[in-house]
């Protein structure tokens, strides 16, 4: 018998930096993405899009397009009407035009689709479709949406004063959402000796996954079955939606998410392109492929953020926060297609009291329509958590500045203390666990914070210095792992997740999940959980996701829910198998279960170390000689309904150097400490943190989808939209503490989104800090050289 230490290494279970199993195929170009799928008889779809942001459609002439060789069909809203598919429900309780029905509401909106024998003819067909428009006044500025004379966008909602989330106050108003206690917050402000407020705009950005969205819809007219390969982060939910929309029984709909080249929230929703491809396939009886190009992806499929926030803090003279008030105008675009648990129109924005013990708080979010693409997804974050963290982290900096208290010190004074957990926030969230002060202290020590401040003071004292130095800090908590089915559902389906494990006779196993990896490394980490729970080497555990015909129903992967919910389901399913295995072991060893103890991969008879049965032995016996009265086989399925969210947290510090003459911002140092509870695979965690920090850097420094006054989208190609490469990405220093979640079976909290959520305000904090001695409290993102130079010029630092 090998020593336990060798056996543990052989298992490569929880805590091991196991190499990612999926990389071999990706780095060799052997992945299988949707666009790699080619089916016999497949035809191609391309989309006619609106050049205008707001216009009435006077006429659509298909004739020239139909005359293009290779073009098979051109579909418009008129063609979808008999099927009642010209509009579709959104995840947020609104409806969205599948193809523009008499009117376009944003530039690049889907107006018609062309189906052709090949991709080239489809594109020629698109150019040949003649659409006559009559321009309408355009609403671009969300802050003007509710003005009395604002152009009215949604004529289809005329007279509807009740929306999915209560009263609508204006034809362009979608919802009002409130949290906290307004009276208590107002009282705190009245009593407070110190108040600060800041207007913060979190610009519209886009998750921009490397692989754009697309699908291959294949309806088999003989069997009456629809298989759709799709870049979906939530294939099971899509199956339910497709069944509801198409009238096909759910058993005849199969959605397959093959390898996905990044999602980041962009691939949660159901897009018009999917619906049109499915309709076309059903009508033609042929497989239909639709793949977006980059411009289409950036312009029409789901964006993120676009929150106009006004935040206020009330505090004592020594910087203790006594109250928080927030008002947000949320720009949801032309249709409310935000992806979020249905009961949360502003997602989990109420985590905006952050890591701080704030006794009174009130937040209100008003969602409005504008002539922009729909969306509002969680871009590498839990629902609206990035916005919330940005708000509180910027505000606490502003308060520190006003009171002339150091940024680190004011955080220390306000942290929820370790012994206060579980902690109920003024917004009613129950934070599971945390030790914020220890995390911050560790970061400050690691970077020798006082030395950085001294260096900065010296630089500020020298007016001849060509550069400025800024130090940014964030100490954030997330709320992830949606979520408890009592409060979290999508279109009525509770946000549990699932795992089915089958242990084969020879002792290897397959685990199938309701989640779906888009780069997170599920194949690797889930197998490690099985390894630790069941004593089966992770190398021998196959993990499969994404095919609704084989995987158990789950809500998918976004909002850092895979480990908190799916990972818990793996552990719980494994524990069911473990319990049965124990019965079998007791039978084989002819002892009672109470006499057995588990060691890594085997049950041993207590006090008789020579006698044991490995999981391999037990698996064989389960199929070969099950104990009397026990059914054969060794498998289990578990649907895990989390009792609460999990609350990963971190402390980040950033040092920037800014060239006054050009506005260039150089990130000199970025130190990220994350606490995601139990760490399943430290290497994957580090990779996720590097990726999240890099995307955070992208958002803070350059990603913004802008619009001109006519509603033309600007910067919707990778020429302008900032995707950092290895050249401009800073070097990341990572660190960690471990504060397990008390309610998660493994103590794990989820990690991949923390670095995105936490880093963005940290960059802003650093850039604003560089100018703080000149009275600057806040600067809007993105911190491009051009924008920073404008600040330098206003402050007479640049010519």
């Amino acid at each position: 018998m090998n020593a336990p230490i060798d056996r543990a290494a052989a298992l490569a279970g929880i805590g091991q930096p196991r190499l990612r199993k999926e990389d071999a195929r990706f780095v060799q170009g052997k992945g299988r993405y949707v666009d790699d799928i080619k089916l016999p008889g497949m035809v191609h779809m391309d989309i006619v899009r609106s050049p205008l942001a707001h216009a009435r459609i006077k006429r659509i002439d298909k004739s020239a397009a139909l005359a293009v060789p290779g073009v098979i069909a051109v579909l418009t809203a008129e063609d979808l009407k008999p099927l009642k598919l010209h509009w579709m429900p959104t995840l947020a309780g609104d409806v969205q035009a599948v193809l523009a029905d008499g009117k376009v509401h944003f530039q690049m909106q889907e107006v018609a689709v062309v189906i052709a024998e090949d991709r080239y003819s489809a594109a020629d067909g698109v150019e040949a479709v003649a659409v006559e428009y009559e321009e309408l006044p355009v609403l671009v500025d969300a802050l003007k949406a509710l003005e009395p004379d604002a152009p009215v966008l949604r004529e289809d909602l005329a007279g509807k004063t009740e929306g999915a989330h209560g009263r609508r106050l204006h034809p362009n108003h979608i919802f009002t959402w409130e949290a906290g206690d307004q009276a208590a917050a107002d009282a705190a402000f009245e009593a407070a000796p110190v108040r600060v407020e800041e207007a913060l705009f979190y610009p519209r950005v886009h998750p921009c996954p490397l692989e754009t969205c697309g699908c291959v819809a294949a309806f088999d007219p003989v069997r009456g079955e629809l298989t759709t390969y799709m870049t979906s982060q939530a294939p099971h939910v899509v199956r339910t939606v497709v069944s509801m929309l198409s009238g096909l029984p759910e058993s005849k709909v199969r959605i397959v998410s093959p390898d996905i080249g990044g999602g980041f929230g962009n691939k949660v929703g159901v897009y018009p392109g999917y619906v049109c491809a499915i309709v076309a396939s059903i009508v033609l009886g042929r497989p239909v492929k639709w793949i977006e190009d980059r411009i289409e992806n950036l312009s029409s499929t789901a964006f993120a953020r676009d929150y106009h926030m006004k935040g206020e803090l009330a505090a004592t003279a020594d910087g203790r926060i006594t109250g928080l008030r927030v008002h947000v105008v949320a720009d949801h675009g032309a249709f409310d297609a935000m992806a979020s648990p249905s009961k949360y129109p502003a997602g989990l924005f109420h985590v905006c009291s952050g890591a701080y013990d704030i006794p009174a708080a009130y937040a209100r979010v008003d969602g409005v329509y504008t002539n922009k693409a729909p969306g509002g997804v969680a871009y590498r974050c839990s629902f609206r958590v990035t916005e919330a963290v940005y708000l509180i982290e910027r505000l606490i900096d502003v308060l520190a500045q006003k009171l002339n208290i150091d940024k680190a010190e004011i955080r220390m004074r306000n942290f929820i203390r370790k012994e206060q957990f579980p902690y109920r926030s003024a917004f009613g969230l129950e934070y599971d666990s945390g030790d914020y002060a220890a995390a911050l202290r560790k970061v400050l020590d690691a970077v020798v914070y006082p030395a950085l401040r001294a260096e900065q003071a010296a630089k500020r004292a020298d007016p001849a210095s060509p550069s400025l130095m800024g130090i940014g800090l964030t100490t954030f908590t997330e709320v992830v792992g949606a979520g408890p089915t009592t409060s979290c559902d999508i279109l009525g389906v509770g946000m549990f997740d699932s795992c089915e494990i089958r242990v084969h006779p020879t002792g290897s196993a397959i685990a199938r999940m309701g989640t779906i990896s888009q780069g997170q490394g599920h194949q690797t980490t889930y197998a490690q959980i099985v390894a630790t729970e069941l004593g089966i080497p992770s190398e021998e555990v196959q993990v499969e996701e994404g095919d609704t015909s084989t995987a158990p129903y789950g809500l998918g992967t976004y909002g850092s829910r895979s480990t908190p919910v799916g990972g818990a389901a793996v552990a719980m399913a494994a524990r069911k198998i473990h319990a049965k295995a124990k019965k079998i072991a007791a039978h084989l060893l002819e002892v009672s279960e109470a006499d057995l103890e588990w060691e890594l991969d085997r049950f041993k008879v207590r006090g008789d170390p020579g006698r044991s049965k490995t999981m391999k032995d037990i698996a064989w016996a389960a199929y070969h000689e099950p104990p009397p009265g026990l059914e054969p086989g060794l498998e289990a399925v578990h649907y895990y309904d989390p009792p609460n969210f999990t609350f990963p947290f971190g402390a980040y510090l950033c040092v920037v150097d800014i060239t006054k003459a050009t506005g260039e911002v150089q990130v000199r140092r970025f130190y990220a400490l994350d606490d995601c509870g139990t760490r399943i695979n430290p290497m994957i965690i580090e990779g996720q943190i590097h990726g999240g920090l890099t995307e955070g850097f992208a958002v803070a420094m350059g990603q913004k989808l802008d619009f001109d006054a006519q509603g033309n989208i600007l910067g919707n190609t990778l020429l302008d939209y900032f995707l950092p490469t290895a050249v401009e990405t800073p070097r990341w220093e990572t660190d960690y503490t471990v504060t397990p979640s008390p309610h998660h079976p493994l103590g794990a909290k989820g990690v991949a989104e923390s670095p995105h959520v936490g880093s963005i305000p940290c960059f802003s904090s650093a850039v604003a800090d560089a100018f703080a001695h000149l009275g600057v409290t806040h600067l809007e993102m993105p911190h491009t050289a051009y924008r920073v130079w404008q600040t330098c010029r206003e402050l007479k630092l640049a010519a």
């Binding site: 050009t662 050249v727 491009t784 050289a785 051009y786 010519a799």
Partner: protein
């Protein structure tokens, strides 16, 4: 992102290519590296009926020194400009600029001739060619003719090339000993065109500027030679006052178009800043 249909021709000699252009007329476009032309075709901004691919014409490739002049075939790629020892020794400004163009994919296919012939003021080679005082050889049905770089760029996407002409060669004199050079380019990210950039060729004698040639990228409808800025430096030590003078004169000729990189004020200011950097770097190399 799918171009309309076109016919494709692959001549193997310059004569054959010119013959095709003459025959096909305005509906034909020459294809070099394709890294400017193909994106425009995919966006359907350009819809030529015929592409005449120069990639099989070996006479258009290569770099050699002949009669004291460096001659570079128009189809030489950016990657080759960087890798070629002769240029590193005798015209190091060219590889320095090529290194700052696009990304490895672009540099592996994009050509010097295509970068110039495209007539895009955002491209880097026009300013470099002006700073090098290069001469271009254009060949058409009536035979070859030469045009100075300074006279080649006529406007936005507009050059001295006639419809049936091909740019075949770029000629420049090797740097005299003691010449300093620099190309400083401000860009938002790797792979981007310049927000503004400045090319400088400089010689100092007894601590004073004896020769200066300055050209600017992407701050007007064409690359600009900053003659006034050059004049401001001649005969003076390269001190702060001289540099400021040159910067101001360079800024004075800028007339950039606003885009997401910045407004006219920013780009103009950055042209000045890049000139300051380039002068500094060039001066360091003057030995």
């Amino acid at each position: 992102m799918i171009p309309p249909a076109f016919d494709y021709h692959a001549p193997t000699s310059v004569g054959e290519a010119i013959g095709l252009l003459a025959r096909l007329g305005g509906d034909a476009r020459v294809l070099a590296g394709g890294h400017s032309l193909l994106p425009m075709m995919k966006l359907r901004f350009a819809q030529p009926g015929h592409l005449v691919d120069l990639n099989r014409i070996s006479a258009l490739r290569g770099i050699r020194e002949e009669g004291g002049v460096i001659r570079i075939g128009a189809m030489t790629t950016e990657h080759e400009l960087i890798a070629f020892r002769l240029l590193q020794e005798k015209l190091p400004l060219l590889p320095e600029a090529a290194r700052q163009i696009g990304d490895p994919q672009v540099r592996n296919r994009g050509t010097l001739g295509g970068d110039l012939a495209h007539g895009d003021p955002a491209n880097d080679h026009p300013a470099i060619a002006i700073a090098l005082d290069a001469t271009f050889v254009l060949e058409g049905p009536k035979g070859p003719r030469t045009v100075k770089a300074e006279d080649f760029f006529l406007g936005l996407y507009l050059t001295a090339l006639a419809e049936d002409e091909i740019l075949t060669e770029i000629r420049a004199a090797p740097f005299a000993p003691g010449t300093g050079w620099a190309y400083d380019k401000l860009k938002r990210k790797t792979g981007d065109w310049a927000t503004a950039a400045a090319a400088v060729v400089l010689r100092l004698e007894a601590g004073k500027v004896a020769y200066a040639r300055i050209a600017l990228t992407n701050v007007a409808a064409t690359a600009l030679r900053a003659v006034d800025a050059e004049q401001a430096l001649l005969g003076r030590p390269l001190d702060e006052a001289a540099i400021r003078d040159a910067m101001a004169r360079a800024r004075a000729i800028c007339d950039p178009a606003e885009d997401l990189r910045g407004d006219a004020a920013y780009k103009t200011a950055m042209a000045g800043e890049m000139l300051r950097r380039a002068l500094g770097h060039a001066a360091e190399r003057c030995r």
